[in-house]
């Protein structure tokens, strides 16, 4: 992933190896330091409430005050509404919707308002907010607490969607998301919070809309993001053992996604596999597969393959939950069979 870690600017201070959680925390802190209009709101986000249920915003209210870092009632419409309103008058709110499934109670604010106000006002207003939300299987939390719903938001014109897979990107995407003039949904994978990554520059920005080649290869292109990207990296050994050299692309931004990088790689390898934790049907992979199949018509060596969750809610029982999301093993199998 070296290219994702290289800042354009020279000689910035280095951030040591940190976890995803620390990287997100630091990105918000650095943005708050740089711009007093950056404010944070959400359930339990301030320090008297321990800086969030997982602690992602820990220390921020202590440092910047409870005026700028505000714990809210459990009221997601009110949270996003407050963020939208403040953003219309110059603030850059970073709002937390604790879990992605809880976006369902704020969809009107996100979709009918945040995403549309720029267009509907003919460009007079815009909504520079970041909506942080966490999700992901792995903690036996069952059917209502770990859905990946990024496809809904990617289908919604006017907003952007990002999902980092490593601490450096988590930092750089957060900084870019806060800088961005439009609403950005920032998806955090819960089981990845404590994953450590390489060090990165303190002013590291990952531009929205740019994928990264996480690993080069020649036989098959694997496109993924969030935790599943790391599963793909975990599949490299098995693929190599089978003689398959995979090029692995970390989408980083889900919407708008980086067509150029994906298509260039797929054109090179001739094979494309898209893997994500969301339900496969009508998921992010469908759009990528549709675009790639059309734009690379006649140039691919094999049909585009998708690997997502089965058409079902997330089950509780451990063996079922383990089998729900694509993992390294299933990714390797799919890539290898694509190359046969």
């Amino acid at each position: 992933m070296s290219d994702t870690l290289t800042s354009e600017k020279p000689a910035a201070a280095k951030v040591a190896q940190v976890t995803m959680l620390q990287a997100i925390n630091q990105a918000i802190a650095d943005a708050m330091e740089a711009d007093e209009h950056v404010v944070v709101l959400g359930e339990d986000v301030a320090d008297p409430e321990e800086g969030g249920v997982v602690g992602v915003t820990k220390g921020l209210s202590g440092r910047f005050g409870e005026k700028r870092v505000r714990s809210t009632p459990i009221a997601e419409q009110a949270i996003i509404g407050a963020a939208i309103g403040a953003s219309l008058v110059g603030y850059k709110p970073v709002a937390e919707i604790m879990l992605m499934n809880f976006t369902t109670v704020a969809m009107d604010m996100i979709v009918n308002h945040a995403a549309k106000l720029r267009f509907m006002s003919g460009g007079q207003t815009h909504v520079p907010i970041v909506i942080r939300t966490m999700t992901g299987t792995g903690f036996s939390s069952g059917g209502q607490h770990c859905d990946y719903l990024e496809a809904w938001f990617a289908h919604t014109a006017g907003m952007k969607v990002v999902a980092p897979s490593n601490p450096a990107d988590a930092y750089g995407l957060m900084r870019a998301a806060i800088n961005d003039p439009d609403p950005v949904l920032y998806i955090e994978n819960m089981p990845s919070y404590w994953m450590k990554g390489d060090s990165f520059d303190a002013d590291h920005i990952v531009p929205l809309g740019k994928a990264a080649v996480a690993k080069e290869g020649g036989d098959v292109t694997i496109v993924s993001y969030s935790r599943t990207l790391n599963e793909a990296l975990g599949a490299v050994k098995a693929m190599e053992a089978a003689g398959v050299s995979a090029e692995i692309i970390d989408l980083r931004t889900i919407s708008p996604w980086d067509e150029d990088t994906v298509l260039a790689s797929a054109a090179k390898t001739g094979r494309l596999l898209i893997a994500h934790e969301a339900v496969e049907k009508h998921g992010m992979g469908a759009e990528i597969a549709a675009v790639a199949s059309t734009k690379l018509f006649g140039k691919l060596k094999a049909p585009v393959a998708r690997l997502g969750a089965p058409y079902a809610p997330v089950p509780f029982s451990k063996p079922l939950e383990d089998a729900f999301a694509p993992n390294a093993k299933r990714i390797a199998e799919a890539a290898i069979s694509l190359c046969k």
Partner: protein, 326 residues
């Protein structure tokens, strides 16, 4: 309520200026639609003019307004220019939103008209955010969310009032209770005897006023605005009124009580205020006639301006979706 907050004669005349404009504008809008010069979903506010006219007497251009599909009266009272308004509802490039928003999404930040929403209840959470912005920057601006009686039953109302109360936001929740939500009568949808009663559940002031009475309406709005500016938090105002022309243009009104409607129209608040101004010697018949003639003229001009303005290029279909990243 303090008696010394007015309104004095000049203020009342100002309220009438607004109300007369609103009334004339609604009448013209319906006419323009009836004659087929314009096509749009139109939610007549006729009968509700006094509410925003009295409210805006105490607001500045810097204060914020978030209103709804039935909100053109609110926006005109807050200062939206007629030309920009008419060009927008005609879908023209000179409209406030370049024709892309339309009557349900008119926006005009220069006068604090920040958002107009077509979703019931959704004015309130956003108004909170504007008020939060004021609180953060200490700039003393207040935010007003308008909404209807029907909207008082949706979740966003509750979430917003609670958050505003806990955060002591400088926001005013202005319910224009016209006794109907679409075709459904107040009692059939709303369990509260008065919507104002719900304020107690948030430990904030809540009051029902006769929204058609400019004095009462002015005073309550003024009190709420002063309270918000003083950092004392939100107020819920339930302004009683009536919708003369059904929910949406074309609506046949069959569901409305005929006698109730006739009585409300008989008590039309705009001519009532007009008579009051004359009776109390605040203005003469001639002065008012002149004001009204000027209004008609400015509406004439706005309609012509709008219809002369170009329709947007098709390239506008995909602009204003994203901005330029910094």
């Amino acid at each position: 309520m303090a008696d010394n907050i007015g309104p004095d004669g000049e203020t009342l005349l100002g309220i009438y200026r607004r109300a007369a404009l609103l009334k004339a504008n609604d009448e013209r809008s319906r006419k323009v639609i009836t004659t087929g010069r314009l096509v749009m979903p139109y939610y007549s506010y006729r009968g509700q003019e006094i509410i925003p006219s009295a409210l805006c007497a105490s607001l500045t251009d810097d204060d914020y307004l978030v209103t709804i599909y039935r909100g053109i009266h609110d926006m005109l009272a807050k200062g939206m220019p007629l030309n920009d308004l008419w060009a927008e509802i005609a879908g023209r490039v000179d409209g406030t939103c370049k024709g892309k928003g339309g009557p349900m999404h008119l926006t005009y930040p220069k006068k604090g008209i920040m958002v107009t929403t077509g979703i019931v209840g959704s004015s309130m959470p956003i108004a909170n955010g504007l008020a939060w912005g004021s609180q953060l920057s200490g700039n003393n601006r207040v935010a007003v969310a308008t909404f209807g009686d029907g909207a008082s039953n949706i979740g966003a109302f509750h979430e917003s009032l609670n958050m505003a109360a806990v955060w002591k936001l400088p926001v005013i929740f202005l319910c224009q209770n016209n006794l109907y939500g679409e075709h459904t009568a107040y009692e059939k949808a709303t369990s509260a005897k008065q919507i104002a009663d719900r304020a107690a559940g948030y430990s904030i002031p809540g009051v029902r006023v006769d929204g058609n009475d400019p004095v009462e309406m002015y005073r309550m709005a003024r009190e709420a605005i002063d309270r918000a500016r003083a950092g004392e938090g939100p107020t819920l105002i339930e302004a009683m009124t009536f919708r003369f022309h059904g929910h949406v243009f074309g609506d046949a009104d069959g569901y409305m009580d005929k006698a109730q409607k006739a009585a409300a129209m008989e008590a039309d608040p705009v001519p009532r205020l007009r008579r009051k101004l004359i009776d109390e010697g605040i203005a003469t018949e001639e002065q008012l006639a002149q004001i009204e003639a000027d209004i008609e003229e400015s509406i004439d001009a706005a309609v012509e301006f709008a219809l002369a303005s170009p329709l947007p290029e098709l390239s506008e279909l995909t602009t204003d979706v994203y901005g330029e990243a910094a």
